[in-house]
Symmetry: C2
Subunit: 204 residues, 2 copies
DNA sequence: CTCACAACTTGCGTGTCACGCACATAGTGC
DNA sequence: GCACTATGTGCGTGACACGCAAGTTGTGAG
């Protein structure tokens, strides 16, 4: 994930991926949620400085390119949780990790609005947020000492957390909202994190 | 939702929608997850007894057609919860409602596997399961006396429930699993329903 | 009952798109 | 430096989503 950990090929690849994703999101924002069809693949590729064929080597749909940033961010959820101190209670660790991951820096409202409120992007946006579940589930399993293969708890909790983040984002985008995203996140996560992992034996 | 409540037009429309959706899912299952590209729109339309143009009047992508049944089922989640007795505790009501909705009849494993384990369908599948959230959130808000516009609790809880159902389905599909889907659902939902609403009125 | 209107289906045409293939170029490891 | 592999690019092809207009069927008013 750090540049130092990747060779030149991987760094270039990541750079063009981000360039294409950034160009796609920027052009989409310019056209607004109703003019998404006007954003041609050729435009995105040109704006990113690559050929349209190369664009297709990285993404198989416009939606995927536009949501790439959100997807990349979600992939880091597991690492974010693992970076919390091991003796921190689960709900505090998850809350702190997600706030750090999703509010550093504060999200771009225009971009998030484009992703979350454009019907054509709904599927990809859900995919992007859901990508946090796998890594998160593993990190939660490691922290709680549960077995992800046999116990539903880590995966269910991860899905609940990812869903809470999504709901927090939706409410944060609502007009007339003055709260910071961090506050919304804390509220949403508190609805989901009060249940503790099962202590004794449970059906698996 | 009952046929009696719809006029002829609406009934015909629902019938063709289901015919197209059923044909799409059936053909997709026949080709398997790796041969999805071989299922042509023309084939689906022909199998459903309509023109390919009509197919496009109902669905704007193959994925949407294939996942139509799952989407329709999710839309009924709110109604399922509302049909539970008002004095039942929230977690019992939700569990009973979801088990009734998703295990009557027991889901078709081939169909669910196609929908949940085919990468090209991932976005649509998530959309389909997520469609339960809106109606569910309203029903939960009504039951707990919370305001969906001000309080995050109903939406977060609905997202958590929808996520738990999805995770339960994923585990149910894993090879070597002998449990019934109802059992998986109960386990998954128990991980999510133990948290209580933050403050204010709730049922019971 | 009949007639006008609205909803729906269908065929056709068009602009995009995803992707296979082959070749050129750049990074990597010996 | 020299093969070797990964990646970028141009071209061609088949499929698809959707606008448009004409034909067909359900619906409701007079």
């Amino acid at each position: 994930m750090n540049d130092d950990a990747m060779d030149l090929r991987a760094r270039n690849r990541q750079a063009t991926r981000e360039a294409i994703g950034h160009a796609a999101l920027r052009l989409a924002i310019e056209q607004g949620p109703h003019g998404l069809a006007l954003v041609r693949v050729q435009d995105i590729a040109t704006a990113a400085g690559v050929s349209s064929r190369t664009y297709n080597n990285y993404f198989s749909s416009r939606a995927e390119a536009i949501c790439a940033f959100q997807a990349d961010q979600s992939r880091r959820a597991g690492q974010a949780l693992r970076s919390r101190p091991a003796d921190e209670p689960l709900h505090e660790a998850v809350t702190a990790a997600m706030i750090e991951l999703y509010t550093d820096p504060e999200p771009d409202k225009a971009g998030l609005r484009m992703i979350m409120q454009t019907p054509e992007l709904e599927g990809e946006a859900l995919k992007a947020f859901t990508m946090a579940e796998g890594p998160l589930a593993e990190a939660i399993a490691a922290r709680t000492g549960t077995d992800p293969g046999r116990d539903l708890f880590p995966a269910v909790k991860a899905a609940a957390v990812a869903g809470a983040i999504r709901v927090a984002g939706r409410h944060w985008l609502e007009p007339g909202n003055t709260e910071s995203f961090a506050t919304m996140l804390r509220s949403a996560l508190s609805c989901v994190l009060l249940a503790e992992p099962p202590e004794g034996p449970r059906d698996r």
